[in-house]
Symmetry: C2
Subunit: 320 residues, 2 copies
């Protein structure tokens, strides 16, 4: 008999629910629901509806799944199900776990989306059979998920893996040009995430930066993103070369430091920026290889994430 699990991927714009075969990681049925209202009560109603639709499509009752897991793009207190800070939802200190348990009538586990993705890769993807794995995502945000000793490491309060918020620049407001979405200054994410790179390029274009980017985007600032910068880099654009040099150096050094300290057997790279910008990925890996401690490279390998957009629901469905 199939053992079914319920997984929910809660981002800033959609909630996606899936009924997942807990033995194979296969998605039996899924439903995506736009978040028309981001207040916690409305989001819970959206999630409930997505779950019910997914269960109906899978031809099973919600209760049959026994429990549900939710991955949230934000900082979560793993043990209590409280979402501490989810900038994309505008949430602070929301007791999401308890609210969803009441709405679904099931026990609900809540974790950061990248912890969930790492666990999905461990169970069914690029980390299968490996005990020590670091997953780094660079997309609209920057973060990591840590599998250490075969277990998901969430830390004392559940906020481990906040790799996007390691400090790489001065942190006093007066000395740091870019503020991070978390409210602090000097964070890696503020200098390397897709959203922050695009914002910076727009500012620098407005200030008169010399580059072919306006040509590549038809002069529309809204079309500036990391992929276009990667294309400008490929065409030898000086501005893009300098920017990618800085971003690749920051990402490569910080990933190297994570690997030096944790000694994983595998590094998994994912997220739209790293997977969608081959030139930035190459610069990042080159810098990584320069900066990582030699001793951490024995038996070490790098892989791309396997599960793609499904990592969230699949990992959430099998959270322990």
């Amino acid at each position: 008999m199939r053992r079914l699990g319920l997984g929910v991927d809660l981002g800033g714009t959609n909630a996606r629910a899936a009924v997942v075969d807990g033995g194979t990681g296969e998605i039996v049925a899924a439903h995506k629901e736009p978040l028309r209202d981001r207040t916690p009560e409305h989001v819970v109603a959206h999630v409930r509806h997505a779950v019910e639709e997914a269960a109906a499509a899978a031809d099973c009752a919600v209760a049959e799944c026994g429990r549900a897991g939710v991955g949230v793009a934000g900082q979560c207190l793993g043990s209590t199900g409280i979402v501490l800070n989810a900038p994309n939802l505008g949430w602070r200190d929301v007791p999401l776990g308890k609210m969803l348990e009441a709405a679904l009538g099931l026990p609900v586990a809540v974790a950061n989306d990248l912890s969930v993705a790492a666990w999905g890769e461990k169970k069914f993807g690029a980390a299968r059979g490996i005990e020590d794995v670091v997953l780094v995502f660079v997309g609209s945000g920057v973060g990591s998920g840590l599998i250490l000793g075969g277990r998901l490491h969430q830390g004392a309060q559940g906020v481990a893996g906040e790799f996007g918020h390691v400090k790489v620049r001065p942190t006093r407001p007066a000395t740091a040009p870019r503020r991070c979405g978390c409210g602090e200054w000097g964070c890696l994410e503020a200098y390397t995430s897709g959203a922050n790179v695009a914002a910076r390029v727009r500012e620098e274009l407005a200030a008169g930066a010399q580059t072919i980017l306006p040509e590549l985007t038809g002069g529309d600032p809204a079309r500036v993103n990391a992929t276009v910068v990667d294309e400008a880099f490929a065409r030898g654009d000086g501005y893009a070369t300098e920017l990618w040099g800085e971003v690749g150096e920051l990402l490569g050094t910080q990933v190297a430091n994570l690997v030096t300290v944790l000694n994983p057997a595998r590094l998994i790279l994912g997220g739209g920026v790293l997977l969608g910008c081959p030139n930035l990925a190459a610069l990042t890996l080159r810098r990584f290889e320069e900066a990582v401690s030699r001793s951490a490279l024995k038996g070490f390998s790098v892989e791309r994430a396997w599960l793609g957009d499904d990592a969230g629901v699949v990992g959430a469905a099998v959270l322990e």
Copy 2:
């Protein structure tokens, strides 16, 4: 009945062996043996002698202890007992575990000295009863020991915790002024350890640095060390103030990044430089507080190491 364990602390100049009460962490008897010859065969003979003396003083047979643990100041492949790189001993790829098992007639576990110290603090010291703990030592070298989910995290190959070798400066030889003892460039240890700080100050004194340090050391470069720099700082010396500003910034930022990523409930600080230089410790903690992610500070505390020089033998005796 007492459950006795054998612990060995293998540094660059001495091997210290102790018979330890595995229930209380109390040292029943210990013996320290200078390493007159650092070739692996001689070191094994020194360790064997130290173990035999400690056992005799504890009035027990070596075999009664059942097993032994060894903490080595170097990078170790935990699972195999191989010491990859121990600069103070001049060792590379030494199969210490197997050599000691043959010499002692007991199973022997080998681990990095700071992993061992962290485990000792977990069992009997400042980390008792805490599941997620980061221990950072700044002494003649810089390193860390990680207790994650209640277990000693040694990583895929046993070299986790190499915090002294995260990169904080450019790593290409042409661009980095200081080479680390590990052979690489740009490592935290190269800029912050006691040995490296002393070497740098001597170089800068020889190059004519203006400071009261010659006065405090009677003009003897051999007496330059971190403690004296801390004293010069306390007296308002400009050179010491600038140097401590840089070292405190580097240490505080990197410790903050470790805590941000791992979310421990406790940070334990130890080592001669951090414990012997109150001004540097204060600068480091001030920078740590600025740089650490707010979310990692819930339920978080900082403690000094409790076990001091005994952490090595005590932790080694109870390695699992």
